[in-house]
Symmetry: C2
Amino acid sequence: VTTTIDPLVGAIPLDLPAVERKFVLPGGFVAGATTCGIKDSGRPDLALIAVTGDPAPTAAVFTQNAFAAAPVAVSKAHLASEGTGSQGLASAVISTSGCANAATGAAGEADQIAIAEHLASTLGVPVGRILCLSTGIIGTRLPVDLVAAGIDRLVPAGLSSEPSGLEAAAEALRTTDSHAKVATTTVTLLDADGLAARSVRVTGIAKGVGMIHPSMATMLAILTTDADVDQDTLHGLLQGAATKTWNQLSIDGDTSTNDTVFLLASGAAGAARVAQRSPAAVTLGAAIEAVARDLARQQAADGEGAATLITCQVTGAADDRDARAVARSVVSSSLVKAAVHGRDPNWGRLAGAAGNANARLDPTRARIAIAGQVVYDGTRDGPVPFDRDAARAAMNAPEVLFRLDLGLGDGIGEAFGCDLTEEYVRENSEYTT
Amino acid sequence: VTTTIDPLVGAIPLDLPAVERKFVLPGGFVAGATTCGIKDSGRPDLALIAVTGDPAPTAAVFTQNAFAAAPVAVSKAHLASEGTGSQGLASAVISTSGCANAATGAAGEADQIAIAEHLASTLGVPVGRILCLSTGIIGTRLPVDLVAAGIDRLVPAGLSSEPSGLEAAAEALRTTDSHAKVATTTVTLLDADGLAARSVRVTGIAKGVGMIHPSMATMLAILTTDADVDQDTLHGLLQGAATKTWNQLSIDGDTSTNDTVFLLASGAAGAARVAQRSPAAVTLGAAIEAVARDLARQQAADGEGAATLITCQVTGAADDRDARAVARSVVSSSLVKAAVHGRDPNWGRLAGAAGNANARLDPTRARIAIAGQVVYDGTRDGPVPFDRDAARAAMNAPEVLFRLDLGLGDGIGEAFGCDLTEEYVRENSEYTT
């Protein structure tokens, strides 16, 4: 059968290093967590990652939401004190879960600053080097005294460079996530003379299984590396990775009030400083992207109520931006998500969602494949007979792959989502404020 | 309690004429329907509205979907023959339901043209004056012979200016709608000299309870009026009305491959020609908007699996465009929709969705009310204590009203949506192609 040897079949090869889901911190960092009492459940709710040496060049990506939370405003201001606001220097990241500290006005911002000041004086660093994350219910205040007491218990006795410290921190980030999320990789960076090679590590932890979930949970991630990188280069690498990974992740279609990703570089690996646009920057960027991509995929697979990770890969777009837009539109469509839940190879919904992406798309040149079978070929008048039972069976899996080739150019891109289930509706309608 | 006299409470007053949900055609039109056999169910699937006199100036709004269906392409081409493509002259609108004729390539377009040609020769009009609508499953072909036989049965014996003719046509448009949708109103237009007044009628029928539903159903509407209006003026009035009504309607967040609205003006009322930007144009525009708004609200209330119509009205925005964007973002949010299903006055989700609208918004000036109670006031540091039980009770209703005042300017706007239920997921996941 010709459809099985079509280039649409199979995933796009990506030139990224392999990752492991192991709790391994890069050199120069310690982590830990405690229970300070924000959550009624008594689960850990205070996480801390600290830099052991000089303050780390740091890059950040923040939510675009106009109702951005207090920790977002405070972190931007602190990064701006020795940088631009989306990059700067940091000594520690503190995360509280159970309360988003969003829509809490000036009082909420003062709470967040008080917590940062307490941590700064405990660590003996300027307050401008403290970054903040919060996640949980909107419109409630942080219990500043409880958080301060938690910091006193955690610093320094509760911080460790061992796997247990990072695992505790990842656990304490969680709200509705079913498990803590981690990804780590190592790459070898060549020095400027192209000779002396040194291995560096990139590790990320993340939480958030509702893309927006302003009453309960949002998307947070902390990436660390022991590479030696300046703010500017680091920011470019993080932006590039986020564009291809977290900005291509949709669970329920919105952007939360608290979404934040931090990337801190300790330089502790002893490798040469990574110069902008150097081969080492490309290698490190791939490592950052690999970690970000794996975390984003873990989040989609763990989407609220979801059973199936949806990956949509697009080739042949006019450019990469169009490819990403089409992929994102497909994984964001409620009807596509419901069809996946029903194991229904309903390619009309893929076509409709792709056509809705506001990207260059010509139905007479586009082709669509579901789980390895071509189902639509616009160059041959559209619908292609296919084995529906085989498609249904292939969709009854932890992951389903949709492939579209637009037949227009060299643009490629991918996006990640999950099926829409009755359980998602129940989780989000039965929850009461 | 101060919150009960807040201007946020209650709906925005709109200067629109009242509508009735009665099947009354304006003068100069006949309508009817038959069962030609596209649908397996044996339900009516062929609808026709025809102009009895000279061809009617006609305006159209089409889907922006890149996978636009054959009837969209054919209707655009026909309108272009004596107009611009989004306006022109028409003698009849033929609608087939059960097959979308989308993603069917050149063969599907030839099918649609053959049907238009058959109707044109039956009516004795140029084929360029036939407009087409189709709705139903994507990727299947129209049975041209069955449709042609249906046309032969319907013309002229099955067409009538009586209510039964329009009701039959509205019924035959339906796929997943639970009932046929109609709205009608009359307004009095002053002549150019401001004296001799004449009443004109605007009537619309619509179908579509999944905003995109490419395998089964899409949003279609046919509006008719017996006012005497040129193409240009008519197009301006329809665009203005659609911007405030159908473009503010979201059921599941996408734009379908077949969405089409037609507005035909017969001139049969004998009123003077409506001049562009005249007082009569304003009056007629309000009538068109009133009909469009009522149909859009009927569609939202009948949304797949939905139990509650969500209306979000926004005041105090920097401009109307921002107000509409915020309103649309609120009614489109899966989390807001699930909260309504759970009768949960979860205003954090409203704030999050509003902040995600890409509109000018300052959390310290915005205020939010749910079903008549202020729940967030940014000018007073945010959260406002409110009666949650009363809010829950008010949300347990066929319609819930959210009001946001942004405190920035005079912009107002509204949007319509529905709750997200387990039934929506079941309907859309258990359906199999």
